[in-house]
Every structure is written in structure tokens, then in C-alpha cells.
């Protein structure tokens, strides 16, 4: 391929005709089928769909946790579909920040240690690690909770620690899977405010959700059904109403 692409329009993520097939005995089950999406820098995207729609599979592939059975996946110009486990681990470490529904913090480690962990695997020196982790925790408003363990924090605080962990390596995308699913409405809204401000600072955010009001915060909404893209809409009116300043 020697096509010349204009830099400005070069997508951060380019997915072309990807499918994921699971073989159940003789039967082939398509978790996702022939999906193509481009995601650009500093986009705020929501992926929606009921359970079984394939949104988890798509998220795992977008997050380089899994590879597609067929199709192309280019991430910042690199062909991810061909990478081996260790190269994928490197991409996940440097380019992707995960936020999970169940927070997925290490229970025995303090907030600071949890936030430091990606830097450990990135080979960052101990002193720089502490400094960066502390700064990121402060950014999400938890500077004073650095030495608390997850079980000493509220759900909202835990998710903020998880967000700090996702942000600390300064990744290309933040990939959030039902980030408000385990939080009450008020705390969930607070968290969405945090996501909005992250977007405003130039981050690219992909939120996977099945809740309409969460998806309304995004600027583009992709709906999946039965492994296919059902619709793709630009949200002309993203929810900022809670952003007072």
C-alpha cells in the first residue's frame, strides 16, 4: 500500500472490515462481523448496544486485548492485527488507558501503587514513577488519598484512582467500559464531568455503555446490534450542561 494520506485526516484508529469468529463445535459464531470505524484524535465516542451485540468484543479488539479473526486494525499507523502478545502488551501499556466497570484495582496496593503500576511495566524509574503517579492522582482530585487502599475508598474514588491509572502513561486513547455501571447516579455524573474535562484537555475518549444518558455525553454514537453496526450518529448536543465552568 503506497497511498498518500493527508496527515490532518489520518485517523488515530482505522478499523476495516474486522470480524471476530468463535467456533462452537462445528458452528461458527460471529461476535462482530465486518465492522469498519475510523476514530480521530481528540474524539469523544460512545459505543452502544445491548448485551450480546458484540460491543465487549469490539472494545477488547480496540483495546488490543484481543485480535480480530479477519480485517485490518491500524493504531497510530501501526498494524496491530499482526502483532504478537508482547507487542500488544507494549501498545496497551503506552497507548491505551483502560477504565473498567468494576474498577479492577489491585486490592492490596495503595492508590499510589496502583497508579504507578503501568509505569512499572513501562520501565520508568522509581522516583519518576512516584512523581508522575502523585501528580495524576492530584489531577483527579485524590492527592490526599494516595496511601489509602481500595477498600478504604468510596466507589467514585476508586474509579478516579482507576482513571488516574489509565491517564498516567499519557495514552493515545482512554477506553472506558461501563465506567459508571457500579456507581450511583450522582457519582456517575461527577465521573462524566471528569471525562468531559479530560476530553477538553485533548484526550481521545471511547466509552462503551448501554445507557443512553451516558452515551449522550459523547460527540459521536455508534450503535451495535448482533455484531453489526446498526447506526452511527453525530450527537449535535452533547451533555455539558453540568459543566458550569
Amino acid at each position: 500500500m503506497s497511498e498518500i494520506i493527508e496527515t490532518e485526516k489520518n485517523p488515530l484508529i482505522r478499523i476495516e472490515h474486522i470480524s471476530k469468529v468463535y467456533e462452537m463445535g462445528v458452528e461458527k459464531v460471529y461476535a462482530i462481523r465486518d465492522i469498519s470505524i475510523n476514530i480521530y484524535k481528540n474524539e469523544y465516542l460512545a459505543i452502544m448496544g445491548p448485551s450480546g451485540s458484540g460491543k465487549s468484543t469490539l472494545m477488547n479488539i480496540l483495546g488490543c486485548l484481543d485480535t480480530p479473526t479477519s480485517g485490518l486494525y491500524h493504531f497510530t499507523g501501526l498494524d496491530v492485527s499482526d502483532m504478537d502478545d508482547n507487542e500488544l502488551a507494549g501498545i496497551r501499556n503506552k497507548e491505551i488507558g483502560f477504565v473498567f466497570q468494576t474498577f479492577n484495582l489491585l486490592p492490596r496496593a495503595s492508590s499510589l501503587k496502583n497508579v504507578e503500576l503501568p509505569l512499572v511495566y513501562g520501565g520508568v524509574s522509581s522516583s519518576l514513577r512516584k512523581e508522575k503517579a502523585m501528580a495524576t492522582l492530584t489531577d483527579v482530585g485524590l492527592g490526599d488519598r494516595a496511601h489509602h487502599k481500595p477498600n478504604e475508598l468510596s466507589g467514585g474514588q476508586r474509579q478516579r484512582v482507576a482513571i488516574a491509572r489509565a491517564l498516567v502513561t499519557n495514552p493515545s486513547i482512554i477506553l472506558a467500559d461501563e465506567p459508571t455501571g457500579n456507581l450511583d447516579t450522582k457519582t456517575g455524573e461527577d465521573l462524566m464531568i471528569l471525562f468531559n474535562s479530560l476530553w477538553q484537555k485533548g484526550n481521545t475518549i471511547i466509552i462503551v455503555t448501554h445507557e443512553e444518558f451516558i452515551a449522550r455525553h459523547a460527540h459521536r454514537i455508534i450503535r451495535l446490534r448482533d455484531g453489526l453496526i446498526e447506526s452511527e450518529e453525530v450527537n449535535p448536543n452533547p451533555t455539558y450542561s453540568l459543566m458550569k465552568n
Binding site: 477488547n60 483495546g63 486485548l65 484481543d66 502478545d85 508482547n86 502488551a89 507494549g90 496497551r92 501499556n93 503506552k94 483502560f98 473498567f100 479492577n104 484495582l105 489491585l106 492490596r108 496496593a109 503500576l117 503501568p118 511495566y121 513501562g122 491509572r165 502513561t169
Partner: protein, 405 residues
């Protein structure tokens, strides 16, 4: 990070490493016992003189050839005398003979377990003839077959616990001897029978026990370098004295302390043989124990492994984490064993000799080489035990691992 998980399951970790603890304890205690034997042997060499040779009908390391040796003709006094006169190279040579069953009476009490050694005045010039108290018999007393005796250390301790042996009369087979000296303690664990002897002039010995006994000839080579030369001279002379034809085997033995080395090596083999079997067994149990607990640990922490992988841990990072965990488990086990064994060894060396005197060869401290061996073995065991669980952890699929509850 690996340590936090271990610390959180202290009791489980401890139980899992018990097999290793037992295995390493075996190795350490075996090494310690063998070290004790070596020291005892070295002490014996020093005490008895490494340059001594004993020409005798009997072979000290005889072992399986016992029957053949028994059929040898005794070495007669004449043959012994001839050898002593004709020998040129050694520093000293003199005849001796032993009687193991003799009637002892002293202070109107009878004793058994004491053997009589008829020997030359030259005995005083060998390390074995060192005197603690009194004196050795002189060349004149030897020539006159005087009825004087030098008693061994244990004999003195038994009969004269409060001292005063010198000048006392001792009856050997009904004949009076005057005690003129007490020998220094020779005994290590191996040679304590030497302290149960009574030394009398060779001539006096023959008068009591007769001329028919086979005699031996003690030869002091003078230096260890001289040993081979002296040995070949003895061999040549003895073969001619005993009228052996060129094709006949030697019908005498030239014994030296090194013979005990062979016996010691034999003992060493038995100790290792017994020990190594149990050690291997307990290491297998230890490895299985740790491997099992590592599998449990991997399964329990599947979610954690998924999280670590999601945020960028490579296979190798996960692998290391578990290998380090199992190695730490084993190293902790070996440190525990070292402490345990140090205590056992100290107590054994301190209190055991009170009940079993031979145990005084045991050192109260562990030889430092064992520390290296124990730590190397434990790291090795840790890696072996952790290998398969660590590989399983490293190969977990991140998506499946994250979904695990």
C-alpha cells in the same frame, strides 16, 4: 509485589514450604555430621601421627578378605626382631603385641574392658606415647622386662577418679605391676579404645602372655614424605623374612592411619545413601507442595493477572512475578531450616556428649559452606516448583483473565 501476596497468606505459605524445610534440614544435618567425622579424623591423624606404620598379620581395612587374613601365619618374635634390626630407613621401629582379654585387679577390684599393650621404650617417642602424668618406662626397664605400667587416660579416670595412680600396684593376670605413668588422652570418637589400654614393656608382656602370639612392628617413618620408601623397604624385608616366593601374595599387612580413611569413606557413603534418599523424597514432596500452592495462587489471582496484562504487563513480567514468589517461599523455607538446624546442632553438641561420649566430635556450629549449598538448593527448588505455574500464569488470555471472578 510478589512478597505482598506471600505475606497475606502467611500460614499457607509456611505449610507449603514445610517440605522444603525438611529437605534442606536433612542436607544441612547430614553435612554437619559428615563435617564432624572429618574433623574427628583430622584430630586422630594429628594425635596418632600420620607417619606411623604398623606391620601386622591383621589388616585394619581388611573387610571382605577377613577369611584369608585369618589364615595367615602369625608373625613370630624372631621375625619381628629381624625386621627391626634390618630396617634402615625409618626413624624408629619396635615390636608390640596386644592382649584383649586379661585379668585386671587394682585396689582389690577387678576390671574388664582394658587391653594390655606390650611395647618398646620407643613408644614414648611417638605421639601415642605422650604422658600426662608420671613417666614412660625407660630403655633399661624395657631391657629388663621390668614390671612397670603406663595406664591409658580412661583407665586412670575409671580406677583413680580422684588421682593418685602413680606408684599404685596393678595386677595383670595375677602379676604385680607398678603404675609409673598416665598417658594423655588419645581418643577421638574413633580411637577411644586407645585410652583403654595399659602399656607394659614388651619383654614383660611375653612373660605373661607367652611367645605364641603374633607380634606387630610399629614403625615411625619420620616424615610423611618418607612413608613410601619405608613401606617398600618393609615389604622387601618382610617378604624375605617370611620366605615368600615371587608369585605369592604378601602374608602380612603394612597398616597406616590412612586405612581409617577408607573406613570413614565407607561410613560417609552410608550416611549419604540413607540421607540422600530421604532428602530427594522430601524435596519431591517440597516441590509438589510449593507447585500446588503456586497453582492455587495463580488461579486465585487470575483477575489480578488480567488487570496486570491489560495495563501492559508482558508475559515475562508475570512469569518473573510468580517465579520470584516461589523462590522467596523456598528461600524463606531454607532460612527457617538454617535457624532450626542451628538450634538443633547447638543443643546436640552441647548436651548429647553427656549421654553419649562419642558425640563430642560434633561441632556446635554449622559449617559455612552449608549456607551456600542450602541457599542454592532452595533457589533451584523454587524455580523448578514455580516454573509450570508461572508459565500458566504468563500464558493466560487477558480477556478471559479479566472476566474471571
Amino acid at each position: 509485589m510478589a512478597l505482598t501476596a506471600l505475606y497475606a497468606n502467611k500460614l499457607r505459605s509456611f505449610l507449603a514450604s514445610l517440605g522444603v524445610v525438611i529437605g534442606i534440614s536433612f542436607v544441612i544435618l547430614m553435612g554437619w555430621a559428615l563435617d564432624g567425622l572429618d574433623h574427628a579424623m583430622a584430630d586422630a591423624f594429628k594425635a596418632l601421627g600420620a607417619d606411623m606404620l604398623y606391620v601386622d598379620k591383621w589388616d585394619w581395612a581388611g573387610g571382605r578378605r577377613w577369611d584369608l587374613i585369618r589364615q595367615r601365619k602369625p608373625i613370630t618374635i624372631e621375625q619381628g626382631k629381624e625386621l627391626v634390626e634390618r630396617l634402615q630407613t625409618p626413624e624408629l621401629a619396635y615390636m608390640y603385641s596386644n592382649a584383649h582379654r586379661a585379668n585386671f585387679k587394682c585396689k582389690d577390684k577387678a576390671f574388664t574392658g582394658i587391653s594390655v599393650n606390650g611395647t618398646g621404650w620407643q613408644h614414648s617417642q611417638t605421639p601415642m606415647g605422650s604422658i600426662l602424668e608420671g613417666r614412660h618406662f625407660s630403655i633399661f626397664e624395657a631391657q629388663q622386662s621390668a614390671r612397670v605400667a603406663v595406664i591409658g587416660y580412661n583407665v586412670n579416670a575409671k580406677i583413680f577418679p580422684e588421682g593418685g595412680a602413680i606408684g599404685t600396684l596393678l595386677k595383670i593376670n595375677g602379676i604385680d605391676f607398678t603404675i609409673i605413668g598416665v598417658a594423655k588422652k588419645q581418643g577421638t570418637a574413633f580411637f577411644d579404645f586407645l585410652d583403654n589400654e595399659v602399656h607394659i614393656p614388651f619383654g614383660a608382656f611375653i612373660k605373661i602372655f607367652g611367645r605364641e602370639r603374633s607380634v606387630g612392628i610399629s614403625v615411625k617413618a619420620g616424615s610423611e614424605e618418607n612413608m613410601e620408601r619405608v613401606k617398600s623397604e618393609i615389604r622387601g624385608l618382610m617378604r624375605s623374612i617370611r620366605n615368600l616366593k615371587p608369585n605369592q601374595e604378601d602374608d602380612f599387612s603394612i597398616n597406616e592411619l590412612k586405612a581409617f580413611d577408607e573406613i570413614l569413606n565407607e561410613m560417609r557413603k552410608y550416611i549419604w545413601g540413607a540421607g540422600i534418599g530421604m532428602t530427594i523424597l522430601s524435596f519431591i514432596v517440597g516441590i509438589i507442595g510449593i507447585m500446588n500452592i503456586m497453582f492455587v495462587s495463580v488461579t486465585e489471582r487470575t483477575k489480578e493477572i488480567g488487570i496486570r496484562k491489560a495495563i501492559g504487563a508482558r508475559k515475562s513480567s508475570i512469569w518473573y512475578q510468580f517465579i520470584i514468589e516461589s523462590s522467596v517461599l523456598c528461600i524463606a523455607g531454607s532460612i527457617f531450616s538454617l535457624i532450626l538446624c542451628s538450634i538443633i546442632v547447638y543443643l546436640a553438641a552441647t548436651f548429647l556428649p553427656d549421654y553419649w561420649p562419642k558425640a563430642d566430635l560434633l561441632s556446635p556450629y554449622l559449617p559455612y559452606q552449608l549456607l551456600f549449598i542450602a541457599s542454592i538448593v532452595s533457589i533451584f527448588v523454587g524455580i523448578i516448583a514455580g516454573l509450570v505455574p508461572a508459565i500458566r500464569a504468563a500464558n493466560l488470555d487477558p480477556v478471559d483473565a479479566l472476566r474471571y471472578e
